[in-house]
Subunit: 142 residues, 2 copies
Amino acid sequence: MDTRFSSAIHILIMIAGSAQPLTSETIANSVGSNPSYIRKVTGLLKKKGILDSRQGIHGFSLLVPPEALSLCSIYQAINESDEVHVFDLHQNPNDACVVGRHIRPVLAETFRGIEEKAERQLRQTTLADCMDKMRIRIGEEQ
Amino acid sequence: MDTRFSSAIHILIMIAGSAQPLTSETIANSVGSNPSYIRKVTGLLKKKGILDSRQGIHGFSLLVPPEALSLCSIYQAINESDEVHVFDLHQNPNDACVVGRHIRPVLAETFRGIEEKAERQLRQTTLADCMDKMRIRIGEEQ
């Protein structure tokens, strides 16, 4: 199970919503993980210019406003790929068998439609949309 | 990486297209896996009434015609769940934090639209559609 995407959104909501600088330790405590995992995920987000962590100051800052940060950009940063993968393909089908030789392109073509729709939807959804949903739930809680 | 779904489609195409009974060994050779993995996947398909393997005879038979077997049914059998999951959620966010407390329902709601679209598309695609795509590629190869 790859939960880095889901964790990355959690991390970014925390950073976007906090007036104080947050450390990896504080974030890990909320995500339910450890600081080294948080640094791995934030490292991927920094590489894509989504986050910054300034030298000498503990904490991260968001370089893209939540309204302009699509879930697709987050997904791509985390997966270090421009493509959205929905279903994994098995890696080593046997080329000597006619089914084995063609199965991966057949399934890639079959899954592509789903992946394109997923990508479009991730592109249309921003971090701000997730924060709005969260605000509603927090409001309902009170 | 969970490639059981992709492997299951491979297995079912082989079984649907073979005039001879196929053993786990033959199938494993094409999938690029081992017989015990194939028996694990076929076990899940048998449980849902998609496959049969008759006692005393080595080999599997398809109980649902390829035209009537949707990729959604295969997916559900393999995942032992009626729901299509597209993105995994992190498991242990901290309820003591306001973000940690709400992140899973917020992301579940955000991802639901993508999952519903994926499910609809899997429901509309059959094993026969995949076999048709494969036949075209085999034809082009010759």
